[in-house]
């Protein structure tokens, strides 16, 4: 418990997955918001920028967290769960 978590071994590839997902997260939020003015085309009845910032981005965030939970759960079955 007292050992800093940083010293613990991690599943190989976890850091890469995190980096990729965080990149996706940054692009979907800050990237999309930065270019919001240029994305005002209407697609399927929705202004694209409004839809992305109000719905698409949030759905993508859910995807990011779910993919991470699923992948880590599969790659490290109880390996990092030192629980009773």
């Amino acid at each position: 418990m007292t050992a800093p978590a940083a010293t613990k071994k991690e599943v190989p590839g976890a850091a890469w997955l995190r980096a990729a997902l965080l990149l996706l997260w940054a692009a979907a939020s800050f990237g999309a918001a930065f270019f919001a003015r240029d994305l005002s085309q209407v697609v399927a009845g929705w202004p694209l920028n409004y839809w992305w910032l109000a719905q698409g981005g949030v759905l993508l965030f859910i995807g990011v967290v779910m993919v991470y939970a699923w992948w880590m759960g599969r790659a490290a079955p109880a390996a990092d769960d030192e629980d009773r």
Binding site: P4, A36, Y50, M66
Partner: protein, 685 residues
């Protein structure tokens, strides 16, 4: 014991299903009662008291003195239920009451004076990616009790105390906003005074968290989540059904956006609206004139009013008129300083309202200004965009550092459950956050299409009722004297739009009661979590570790309970001062939390090289930069020092001060740690 835990989960599922069905049945019953003639004066109090009683009952049934239960609910809350509790813990009065209003007022990206809009939606959901990927799993693996525990284990006592202080500061600011929300709802729902409303709500909060700590809070929050979700989705779906013919607001509200744009164009060109704007322009110029020499203007105003009173008396006018003039006289500012402050504010407001659409930005327009326009327009565009990004940054980073949220993820049975739990939380939160922009758009359409243009002689009742609760929340004034309501003549406060939505849309009064109960649930659930965090920081996190381990004891639980009581009282007293809008208070506490915790948490978790001194220095600098920026840019303090308003760096709004504080914290931790390593290597060599 997968079998036992599966049976436990099944029992929980059954309870949840029964509760949800019971809630819906209760709503149908109330709807029937309203039709049968139950008076409105009863519906509000019934919702208020029954819901608070219910939370209290759940809270009391979860009472405990066992430390493991009190601090982390025994670490056996299943991922999905922890997700629900987190969603309720997370969605505060700001999300439920203010966010829809803020989106109504700020449109896509907010005004230059107040950035916001969709930055709130993305910011308050995107932070969970950081929580799920970086923070929660690793913190959970360390088996701690509070967030400052991490600082104690990783960086030692100094950092622990600093973290406890930071946790108290940002949670306190946050809890004051929640209690203000509680007072607002309780007073509107029952017609009692604002201060008494606060006390009523406070009783509910204390019954939940005082007796059972984290365990009681967890299960009340699950119940509160169901209430607040139902309370949000019913009015949205109903409004969508009325306007669009389908209750699936999320899929269909896109159609309203072009219609709102058309209405906006019509309103901007309408001669009556322009009359109203010209009138406000006049008013602004009048204030500007007075401000040129406030002392003389004040004397002039005073003698004019005294003359009028004398004239009224001389001609033996009705006593009521004399009283009115007297009241005006006593409402004049006392001295030159207060006159200047008051008139500056009035001038700014009049200037805002002299703009098209009463100063509201166009609903679907991303950022103010024009990237292809004049240099001034280009600068406005860039500032507006930068403010949007900065606000989003602070909200996301703040999410990943708020102690009351992170401790919720200590309560799951395993690290894998923590990761799953973050996903559940975000899913539950998104259900409300995706619906909020829909609600804002539907309400805006309703106001522009139906409310605007109605006669002053037949204004709906709710306008007057809300104005009685707090005149700052709504003002409707026939500025150009044509007895017809123009868009420019309505001024709505962000905090009342959601609560007034059912009345605005002409829904039955039961829905109003339900929405208020939902807002109450949101405020209470967050206040519970925050109060527990504060009292734990005061009692648990100020005690030193024993043998290099964090520890808990029964005595501390009792102390924590009393600290909780005291903090709740102080917070209520502060909220009664009506210090500010809910959403700006909350945003400021996000900035503070981000700058205090985020750099030290991330580097502590992911960089073995981060040292004690580095962490302490980084936290101090982060707090100093953030608080310093907020203070030096605050209009009140600047006026007090006799400085001109301004002092912004790159035009960043003071609530987003974390935009500077977080990078400063990272830089200082890295620099001090690297310097220490370099020195150590030199002494060794």
């Amino acid at each position: 014991m997968p079998g036992a835990s599966r049976a436990y989960a099944r029992r929980l599922h059954r309870k949840l299903l029964l509760f949800t069905l019971g809630l819906l049945a209760f709503l149908l019953l109330m709807h029937w009662a309203e039709r049968a003639g139950l008076s409105r004066g009863w519906i509000g109090p019934i919702f208020l008291f029954l819901s608070v009683m219910m939370y209290a009952a759940v809270g009391i049934s979860g009472r405990t003195t066992d430390p493991e239960e009190f601090y982390v609910a025994g670490r056996r809350v299943p991922a999905m239920y922890n997700g629900m509790a987190t969603a309720a813990d997370w969605m505060s009065a700001a999300s439920f009451i203010s966010l829809a209003g803020a989106l109504y007022l700020q449109g896509f990206s907010g005004t230059p004076a107040q950035p916001g809009g969709l930055a709130y939606v993305l910011g308050w959901t995107g932070g969970f990616c950081l929580v799920g990927l970086l923070m929660a799993p690793r913190l959970r693996a360390m088996r701690l009790y509070t967030v400052p525990d991490f600082f104690a284990v990783r960086f030692g006592r100094g950092a622990q105390l600093l973290a406890a202080l930071g946790a108290v500061a940002c949670s306190f600011m946050y809890v004051v906003a929640q209690i203000y929300g509680i007072g607002l709802i309780a007073s509107r729902l029952t017609g009692v005074q604002f201060e008494i409303g606060i006390l009523l709500g406070l009783g509910g909060v204390l019954l939940c968290s005082f007796l059972g700590g984290m365990r009681a809070i967890t299960w009340t929050q699950v119940v509160q989540y169901v209430v607040l979700l139902v309370a949000f989705l019913i009015p949205v779906s109903w409004l969508a059904y009325k306007q669009l013919g389908t209750p699936l607001a999320l899929l269909a509200y896109g159609q309203q956006l072009p219609k709102i744009e058309q209405l906006e164009r019509k309103l901007i060109d309408s001669p009556a609206e322009q009359e109203v704007r010209a009138h406000f322009g006049e008013r602004a110029r009048d204030y500007a004139e007075r401000l040129r020499d406030p002392a003389a203007a004040l004397a002039r105003e005073r003698s004019a009013l005294e003359d009028r009173i004398r004239a009224l008396r001389a001609e033996g006018a009705d006593f009521a008129f004399v009283m009115m003039a007297r009241r005006e006289l006593s409402a004049l500012p006392k001295d030159e300083t207060s006159a200047r402050e008051l008139w500056t504010r009035a001038m700014n407001e009049a200037q805002e309202r002299a703009k098209p659409l009463g100063g509201l930005p166009r609903h679907g327009q991303a950022f103010a200004g024009d990237p292809d326009g004049t240099p001034a327009e280009r600068a406005e565009f860039n500032t507006s965009r930068l403010n949007f990004l900065a606000l989003m940054f602070c909200l996301m980073i703040g999410t990943a550092s708020l102690p009351h949220l992170l401790t919720r993820f200590y309560t799951t049975p395993s690290v894998a459950d923590t990761r799953r739990s973050v996903a559940w939380s975000l899913l539950f939160i998104a259900m409300l956050y995706l619906a909020t922009p829909a609600l804002a758009a539907l309400v805006k359409y309703e106001v522009m299409q139906h409310l605007v243009g109605s006669s002053f002689d037949a204004l709906p009742n709710w306008i007057a009722q809300w104005a009685r609760v707090d005149p700052g929340l709504i003002s409707v004034q026939d500025v150009n004297g044509d007895r017809i309501l123009q868009f420019g003549e309505i001024r709505l406060g962000a905090d009342m739009i959601m609560l007034a939505t059912p009345e605005l849309g002409g829904l039955p009064y039961v829905v109003s009661g339900l929405v208020a109960a939902g807002g109450l649930a949101a405020a209470l659930s967050t206040a519970d979590g925050l109060l527990l965090t504060i009292s734990n920081a005061l009692v648990h996190d100020t005690a030193p570790m024993r043998g290099g381990r964090v520890w808990v004891s029964d005595n501390r639980v009792i102390l924590s309970k009393f600290a909780l009581l005291a903090v709740a009282m102080v917070a209520a007293a502060t909220a009664a001062l009506k210090t500010g809008e809910i959403i700006s208070l909350v945003t400021a506490s996000f900035s503070l939390a981000a700058a205090t915790f985020f750099p030290a948490l991330t580097l502590g978790l992911f960089w073995r090289g981060a040292t004690r001194r580095g962490a302490v220095a980084g936290m101090l600098v982060g707090i100093a930069v953030t608080v310093g920026y907020m203070l030096q840019a605050s209009a009140g303090l600047r006026a007090w020092w006799g400085l001109a308003p301004g002092g912004l760096w790159w035009g960043i709004h003071p609530v987003s001060a974390g935009f500077f504080g977080v990078p400063a914290g990272f830089a200082v931790i890295a620099a001090v740690s690297a310097w220490e390593h370099w020195r150590r290597r030199r002494t060794v060599a």
